[in-house]
Amino acid sequence: MGEFKVHRVRFFNYVPSGIRCVAYNNQSNRLAVSRTDGTVEIYNLSANYFQEKFFPGHESRATEALCWTEGQRLFSAGLNGEIVEYDLQALNVKYAMDAFGGPIWSMTASPSGSQLLVGCEDGSVKLFQITPDKIQFERNFDRQKSRILSLSWHPSGTHIAAGSIDYISVFDVKSGSAIHKMIVDRQYMGVSKRKCIVWGVAFLSDGTVISVDSAGKVQFWDSATGTLVKSHPIANADVLSIAVADQEDSFVVGTAEGTVFHFQLVSVTSNSSEKQWVRTKPFQHHTHDVRTVAHSPTALISGGTDTHLVIRPLMEKVEVKNYDAALRKITFPHRCLISCSKKRQLLLFQFAHHLELWRLGSTVATGKNGDILPLSKNADHLLHLKTKGPENIICSCISSCGSWIAYSTASRFFLYRLNYEHDNISLKRVSKMPAFLRSALQILFSEDSKKLFVASNQGSLHVIQLLEGSFKHLHAFQPQSGTVEAMCLLAVSPDGNWLAASGTSAGVHVYNVKQLKLHCTVPAYNFPVTALAIAPNTNNLVIAHSDQQVFEYSIPDKQYTEWSRAVQKQGFHHLWLQRDTPITHIGFHSKRPMHILLHDAYMFCIIDKSLPLPNDKTLLYNPLPPTSESDVVRRRTAHAFKISKIYKPLLFMELLDEGTLVAVERPLDDIIAQLPPPIKKKKFGT
């Protein structure tokens, strides 16, 4: 395969935002996750936990609650007092509506999914009716003294429980009046806390209300009499979240110490019908507050300040030992935050509110495998570009020649022209962007930097010709009639003739840029596309899917290539299919036509199509062969997948030229170092 010089970059100072809420939708098996910066992400649990959609954050839109309603509509509410509905097709905010109750702390959908209930700062609980295209305020429940931090419906929809500060109220939905007020004990283990905040409540169908509070207790209340039935002190810190399984036979709570406890309803003795709630399993997958938990039929899902989304399958619910039975810890977004200018060796890093442009260093030395070469020039931080306004950046791109930078937020599109004079850089914004270019989901420059491709959230693809300091709108590919599905991934062929675009669920469309028409559509596949690229010379489109399949499709022939067919016939190596992060980037180099570079968060792979494919018996991750081994043996064991796991977590990798790679790593320790300190626990003795 050969030797590479690898620019190992660790200065991408990216810190994911903490997770605030998760909401699981049973019908579509999707998980919505909101982060403290207001970003909302949708994970498809059926498609190998792929993050298939995201809604960019907004500084003022701190999400406190997230819920799914009937018809798989997604709502969020936050401290700005607004209820927001998301358009899952066009990937934008459908509307935001003020609830007029001050900051919203909690929100829940009725069991039927047709009503929304929000709990506000001023102590009001407001009921909203969900209409097909909006929500409508219906009425207020009895006003409480202090903010409503948690809400839960009785499964029959007749009563609700609301957790507040120091007490839990039970409301009758019909009359809107509070029928019980259950005071929560402030004391914990003899220590009186100032206030006891009820962080979560859950109403079970037998009338039991489960509450979790800041004194570290999980308590069971009888809602008919308003009395405390049982109390489990489980933590010295706050218990922040609770989620109950649909069958009501198990629930999960998350604490500020990072522990997740599983409670199950088990028989007192075997064969007896009498059952009681027992704390069965503690899990410590988090270092910080577990702000939110969810309970899918087969797994416990938790997330919190330490930014990891943890999916812990319940072994007793897993019938076969496949990859769904493994613990998943998702830390990094499943999209590329980095783009690179090969000609000038520049890297553009995308953060929530700014962009950074870096120039890679250089060396004149050479060495053998594993050597660190002395630098003749270190990497430079060239540019720090702050966005205007409160919105997060959705996507960004730098052109191959390095003289154009484009980025987009939810409402504005920015294009900059860069001029390099020796060591100075001047930046000039291209003004007067047309009205239709308000927001982009994906931006791509052509290889010769003469064209700009923009995928807008209306489903259309715009082709723009770039001139010195200005631009000209050439064409807009409209989506197929009737669909408004947004395109999230773009790829352009190096010769600039072909443009491939993929949405979240529909197939990959290939457009002819010269003739400005749709060329073909790649046959649909069940799993979403995670990365796309078009190979130079051959114009083969390489597509990676979330189930770890990789296809190669010849655009001129409109069919899968022989190599792709051979791979499908033999099947991928089982270890390849068991990787748990999606391929986020595919790269080529024109001097290496047989090679495809792909990477996920924990490995990168160069596929050499000229070599035989590995079968399940061959070693996929071949360690370095001993030098004494003869060439013959080496050749016999060589296979097409050249995999290296040296760099991890790997956020970006690209071939700069034939023998040079750039790898952007983001070590977890560096992220942890930037998080607030966790609750201190004694390490020695108890």
Binding site: E3, V6, H7, S362, T363
Partner: protein, 717 residues
């Protein structure tokens, strides 16, 4: 391929099946539940998968049920007619048929039909047809006569054709057969004369029919043993005219016509029919499945106890009266291909091999597991039944062995057992349990019988557990058979705490001389004699390792009343307070699992001097542990440090008030106290320097960190 699975009977005895068989078997609104009506007064609701009746209803003495009970699928109620004219409607909650809804009709009912998707339809003996609702609105309404005099209904069936109920009935008059097709919704009736070819003389014995879009295919089994098919259009071309239909031969000579109790025919699916009757070659009655497309016999099953010549087919179950009991034979027709027949195609799933889930599902084993496991329940019952059935003719080796155990000498049993253990059968677990129970049973009867070797062999199979043979350890305790007890402690995963404690008592109290004789597994005990030399050097190592030296501690002042020189006590060579044999037994106790809450009360019963001895031994083990850096004992499978410390705590918790009074335990308690105190101070010191540790760790990390940017060389092979 079409296949008949193993038959099973629904519990007999409830039914009073007369010589003419049953009145009818009808589907209930739940799958696998059937309403069985006998010729007398009783209707029974059976659940097939459970093989048991769910409910039974009878009419009053003197009344007689005249047509089989059906379920009204729209309301879930049951409908029956007794004494030809009296209609009864009830549901599951009702107990007494006398107190349920009753309607007396003006004409005699021949049969009630009920299929899914429509209300029940009543066919009167005179050929009139009424829906149940219309009839209940006016029970005494006049019922017209459709059939001519002397015309008798022979067979009848209700179909749903494009969501419209269609009733077909066949009548006979002077050896001529007529087919009536009644569209229930539109009340159109068409009549066909059944023309028969060469089988003119024979009598039709059984009918069945299936519907295929436009045609009703009526199949008849004649007394010449052949099956004929007649196609009747569902929608008549001209309903007024009396039309003729011709029957054609479908299968030749499937049964002999002279069956004693009649023959029966039923359509299974498009290509298969089931025929009940005796084949030409044999005299015994037999259920056979024929493929009418290829005219081949697919499978057959002998029914030696005779049948009533009635056959019902619902869902996937064939029901018939076999002897005196209602028998269910599940019928399966799996899609087959030529490749499958030739063995080229692998079967997608082999029902014989159960895929074992790799995870133990505790909930499922409790009986409230996943749905898929529920679905397998009936099959499991069937399989068990099969084992029972098959065990009757040929005595399996396990049964033989059991009888051997009951009678033969110890030597012989041992030999037989060895033979048996050499081959592992699938239900090995259960059989081994049975064998042990058998052996123990004989032990109790014959005090002289002591099959120790056999028991040892059985325990060593690793499949036994305490709950499989609770008597085994009790017997060993009674006989103070320490070797057996040790073996049980090592092998059984589920010994109750009371038994563990009983073992402990024996191990502590048994005399040394009797221990010498016993063959005890000494694996867990290292050679204490050898390690003695190294002790003087090793003891201080422990002290250094904890970062704390008891000698220098201020607490020494409070230990001054200790008569012996404390310096010596710490430095003196620790000698094992028990013999190696006893140590091995105690180690087995240390390894066994327990729950503190259940063990503590039993520990209180152990005499104080034994407690002291055990404590001394544990303390000795602890000292041995702390001799090396990894805090482990030498030897194969030794007790771990946690086990030792947990047991020290347990013993002290249970017996502290007693032990503290014994003078000889005083030194032991003081050393334990010092040990705990030193641990506490070590931990408090550790807590104090934890922050510094973290800083050190951070420094260490930074050293490993290669900086934010580097250019490296990588070679891919």
């Amino acid at each position: 391929m079409a296949a008949l699975e193993d038959e099973f009977t629904l519990s007999s005895g409830v039914l009073s099946a007369g010589p003419d068989g049953l009145l009818g078997v009808e589907q209930s609104n739940k799958t696998d539940q059937f309403l069985v009506t006998d010729r007398g007064r009783t209707v029974v609701l059976y659940k097939v998968s459970d093989q048991k009746p769910l409910g039974s209803w009878s009419v009053k003495q003197g009344q007689l049920i005249t047509c089989s009970a059906v379920c009204n699928f729209q309301t879930g109620e049951y409908v029956v007619v007794h004494d030809n004219k009296v209609l009864r409607i009830w549901n599951n909650e009702d107990v007494n048929l006398d107190k349920v809804f009753k309607a007396t009709l003006s004409a005699e009912v021949h049969k009630i039909h009920s299929v899914r998707g429509t209300e029940p339809v009543l066919l009167f003996k005179e050929g009139a047809v009424r829906g149940l609702e219309a009839l209940l609105a006016e029970p005494q309404q006049e019922i017209e006569a459709v059939l001519s005099d002397g015309e008798v209904i022979r067979w009848t069936k209700l179909f749903m054709v494009f969501r419209h109920p269609v009733l077909i009935f066949i009548t006979e008059k002077h050896g001529n057969y007529f087919v009536y097709v009644h569209m229930v919704n539109s009340h159109t009736l068409s009549k066909y004369t059944l023309l028969r070819g060469q089988e003119e003389k024979s009598v039709i014995q059984s009918f069945t029919a299936s519907v295929d879009r436009k045609f009703i295919s009526v199949m008849s089994l004649s007394s010449d043993g052949c099956v004929y098919e007649t196609l009747i259009p569902v929608y008549p071309t001209d309903p007024e005219e009396n039309q003729r239909v011709v029957s054609s031969l479908l299968l030749r000579a499937v049964v002999s016509g002279s069956a004693p109790s009649g023959v029966a025919l039923t359509v299974l699916d498009r290509d298969h029919v089931a025929v009940l009757g005796s084949p030409l070659s044999a005299s015994k009655e037999c259920l056979s499945v024929w493929n009418i497309k290829f005219q081949t016999l697919q499978t057959s099953k002998e029914l030696p106890q005779g049948t009533s010549g009635q056959l019902w087919y619902y869902g996937e179950n064939l029901l018939m009266l076999h002897g005196q009991s209602l028998t269910v034979i599940p019928y399966k027709c799996e899609v087959s291909s030529l490749a499958g027949a030739l063995g080229k195609l692998k079967h997608s799933h082999d029902p014989g091999i159960q895929v074992m889930p790799p995870f133990v599902n505790w909930e499922a084993s409790q009986g409230d597991g996943l749905g898929s496991q529920h679905a397998e329940q009936p099959r499991r019952i069937l399989r068990r039944r099969k084992i029972e059935v098959s065990s009757q003719p040929a005595v399996p080796p396990s049964k033989q062995l059991l009888t051997t155990i009951m009678k033969d000498s110890e030597k012989h049993i041992e030999m037989e057992l060895r033979k048996f253990l050499a081959v592992k059968t699938p239900d090995f677990h259960a059989i081994v349990g049975d064998l042990v129970t058998g052996l123990l049973g004989r032990c109790q009867v014959e005090p002289s019988f002591c099959p120790r070797n056999c028991l040892v062999q059985l325990i060593q199979t690793h499949v036994l557990s305490y709950s499989l043979c609770p008597g085994l350890m009790e017997m060993a305790v009674k006989k103070t058979d320490v070797q057996l007890l040790q073996l049980c402690l090592q092998r059984f995963p589920d010994i109750p705490e009371s038994v563990t404690c009983a073992c402990l008592k024996i191990f502590l109290s048994i005399g040394d001389d009797s221990l010498h004789q016993a063959e005890i597994d000494m694996e867990s005990v290292f050679d204490y004699g050898d390690s003695v030399q190294g002790d003087n050097v090793a003891a201080p190592v422990d002290v250094l390792q904890n970062g704390f030296s008891p000698e220098g501690d201020t607490c020494l002042s409070c230990c001054q009343e200790v008569p012996a020189k404390p310096q010596d006590a710490a430095a003196a060579t620790p000698t094992c307070p028990v013999t190696p044999q006893r140590a091995a037994l105690l180690n087995a106790i240390l390894h066994s699992g327990y729950s503190e809450a259940f063990l503590l009360p039993h520990l209180k019963d152990i005499p104080a001097q034994h407690i002291t001895l055990f404590l001394k031994y544990l303390y000795f083990l602890y000292l041995k542990c702390s001799e090396n850096a990894t805090m482990t004992l030498p030897g194969i499978h030794p007790p771990t440090l946690n086990q030792i410390l947990d047991w020290i705590c347990l013993l002290l918790d249970a017996n502290f008030t007693v032990v503290v009074m014994i003078p000889e335990a005083k030194r032991l308690l003081i050393s334990l106290y010092k040990f705990v105190k030193s641990q506490i101070s070590v931990y408090s010191e550790l807590n104090k320097i934890e922050v510094s540790f973290r800083e050190l760790q951070k420094l260490n990390q930074e050293k490993n960190n290669r900086g934010l940017y580097s250019i490296e060389v990588l070679e891919l092979f």
